[in-house]
Amino acid sequence: MTEPVETLAARPKSVGARVRRTEDPRLLAGQGRYVDDLAPPRLLHVAFRRSDMSHARIRGLDLEAARGAPGVVAVVAAADLEGLAKPLVAASRMASYHGTPLRPLAEGKVRFVGEPVVAVAAESRYLAEDALELVDIDFEPLGTVIDPEAAAAGDAPLLHEEIGTNVLVERRFRRGEPEAAFAAAAHRVGGSFRFRRKSPGAIENRACLAEWDAGRGALTLHSASGIPGIVRDALSEALDLPGHRLRVVAPDVGGSFGGKGSLYPEEILVSLLARRLGRPIKWTSDRLEDLTATSQAFDEIVEAEMALDAEGRVLALRAEVLGDTGAYSIYPWTAGLEPVQVVGFLPGPYRIEHYEAHVRAVATSKAPTGPYRGVGRPAAVFATERLMDLAARKLGLDPKEIRLRNFVRPEDFPYKIGSGIVWDRSGFTECLEAACARAGYPALREKQRQARAEGRWFGIGLASYAELTGIGSKISVAPGMPINTGTETAVVRIDSTGGITAAVGIASHGQGLETTLAQVVADELGARLEDIRIVQGDSDAVPNATGTYASRGAVLAGGAAILASRVVREKLLRAAGHLLEAAEADLEARDGRVTVAGTDRSMSFREIARAVYSEIGRIPHDKREELEATRLYDPYYGTTSSATHVATLEIDPETYRVTLGAYLVAEDCGRIINPMIVDGQVHGGVAQGVGAALYEEVVYDADGQNLTASLVDYLIPSAPEVPPMTVLHVEGELPATLGGFRGMGEGGTIGAPAAIANALSDALAPLGIGIDELPATPERLFRLIERAQQRQDNQSTGEER
């Protein structure tokens, strides 16, 4: 009796469903557990005395008064930590690269305002901060290194004398014959694009808590981190502790956006002090520390030029990029992370045969830059999409038309761009068409004609981009970095009570991975969603892990979970075959039960698990096998996500405030696990792009002081500044990744700055203004407009004469 077995594909799927999140009840009830919520007995609190100098030698330290202050248990400077930890240096395979040591406290000199110099451990944070006031540091100022172009020049003061230059990375890319292409081009457009420095701005500040178990000689570090696996491996090296005596846990984490995606001095410091003092010790950053000492973002000058033929086809692109990467080469990503990827992604989703680029990452006496949502792509897309609009204007083409003429076409995939990145099939054209159709693009243009007739500054901006996500072991997510970031491991287990646990190495900090990965596992096992628990953010859960970054969670952890679940399902069916006396081919797993197809004979997963593990005689003694599997997944190349953004806006002629109209995103992220979560990720990304385009800027003055060290001065968009958004999902051909997923956590921030810059330029086109600097704050807009109006006045005066 062989009834047709229902195939996996025909069953109702959890993947694709709008499933409410598993993590929500605890977070909504105030029952989340973030690092600062943890308070083990005998807890000490640490506070840091940080440098108030940009670049200075530490001539002397007086710690005696602080050591005698009430409640103080220890006051330490670099000299007190000698020999306790090996210094870590972010490594790179790039020939021109110079690494810088990562130390828990500044040694000999300080290189940015906010760098930790002295740590005070006390019975409370209040008492620790009291004692900081008593710390006396004698600084000898050295020259500040603020302007990146001056920093790159030969006569600049050196931040790291032993390196002999402030240029930490230099690279050249070249394909084809760019000189000949430019010489033969009918049209050229170019510009110098400046994307200013920004801060990731997670609402939870960084925090870490170290506990030393003297009996086991073991350390547990709870850290508000997106990369607990990388932190574990790095601390293992620094502290000379094997992984089974060193556990790093990222519990509930209140956002990262890249700011919690690197190893920090404070994590090393609390680990050392906990071991030395034998008491748990916690550091919780305040906002001042976050805005001065958490890794920052962007800060590039992109000089770029595009050559086009008479029909508006791009022939060649060349660029000179200077990235201001701050005082240190961030661990483990290196100073090349952001600027080198700007050059990597500049060619965008377009067919551009000839390409040439030169990039330098230069150290300045500012906080280090590090990973931030989009990494390199926001600045690249800003430059390239501005060039596309400049070219469209020059050739009298609509911005939509010039993009359609230049996109990599469906038949061109896989397509290697000039920097060497390969795009697999992705819906470049489909996203643009879908976005323009939904936005009512012709009607928008008509609206603009009317607005212009009334003298209003109303603009429409398009931005199309492609990004590489779910990157496998073929390349590193940070150019030249030798650490493998291309694999993830999952351990899937059904225990003796039927409980299903899937452990992964990634670390959720808002992405909802406890829900989406459970959806993936539920489908593969045929289990009920509510029976599955996802364990993440714990270095003890899997043998190797790195974390969540680079839009990799769904692709890599999802892939690993699929592989491990498949093995467990096979084992489950083998056991059920014995128990139900049926052939495995006749069995189906669904909703947490295994059924003999076409019969009413079935067993729950729980009954099977008990029979396998706990009951005598149910399974032949030599057929008993654990219902568990560990599998590693490596997508090898990675896969291309793409989108088109459409922004509309109006500039107030009195206040220069920019009001954004309804915002549209059409994106291709492959198979969607949970549309509600995907929409939320896109919305959040766009909001950060809005901040980057209009409001958010870290400002250092000529003395290297951070002028934007509070949320009064560093402007994060609130609800009225962020427009209502619509997200369209273009379901094109699925990628070759297991599950068909593409990464999509960062795209919103990649497209929005460019779309808004193009919309501003479009609004101000009658004045001949193009936006080449972000954020376009009211002050910058005022200056641009004032200058343009003076120019026009002068011209008309000239004409009258």
């Binding site: 993590e23 929500d24 009840p25 609402i203 808002g510 939320g680 766009v686 009064v712 609130s718």
Partner: protein, 161 residues
């Protein structure tokens, strides 16, 4: 520091009496003395709104008050809204509409949203956005939070629907 002062208040309906330093912030009092860690601290200078609680029926920044200033007050924190296994309609609306991601701004956002739906007509999304403008969220882009507040307000107006 010496010179502790006795402070009495009710927190989520329960009377509380503790001796505290006059300089202890209300946010630290709730989190560290009472162990109510649902109230979060994001900036300690009154901008982000993560620490928003109710003090005698009005929203307040717990990071801008000393505990001793809450003498005799009725305080409500996120823990007073509803437990994980029995969420209030407002909390349910946030879950249904995906009005949270990392959850860190959420307690403050909920306390502000509660005040909004109880006190204002919320006739338009613009009004909801203006009402939420004192609470920063970095994850959601506010779209789903606005939807959640809109739904919660609607449900409050028309409980049967």
């Amino acid at each position: 520091m010496s010179g502790k002062r006795l402070v009495r208040m009710t927190v989520n309906g329960s009377p509380v009496e503790e001796a505290v330093e006059p300089r202890l912030l209300l946010s630290d009092f709730l989190r560290q003395v009472l162990g109510l860690t649902g109230t979060h601290v994001g900036c300690e200078h009154g901008v982000c709104g993560a620490c928003t609680v109710r003090v005698d029926g009005s929203t307040a920044r717990a990071c801008l008050m000393f505990a001793v200033q809450a003498e005799g007050c009725r305080i409500v924190t996120v823990e007073g809204l509803g437990p994980a296994e029995a969420l209030s309609p407002l909390q349910e609306a946030f879950r249904e509409h995906h009005g949270l991601q990392c959850g860190f701004c959420t307690p403050g956002m909920l306390m502000t949203a509660l005040d909004l739906i109880e006190k204002y007509p919320l006739a338009s999304d613009a009004e909801i956005r203006e009402g939420l403008s004192g609470n920063l969220c970095r994850c959601t882009g506010y779209e789903h939070i606005v939807a959640a507040v809109r739904a919660a307000a609607q449900r409050r107006r028309e409980p049967s629907s």
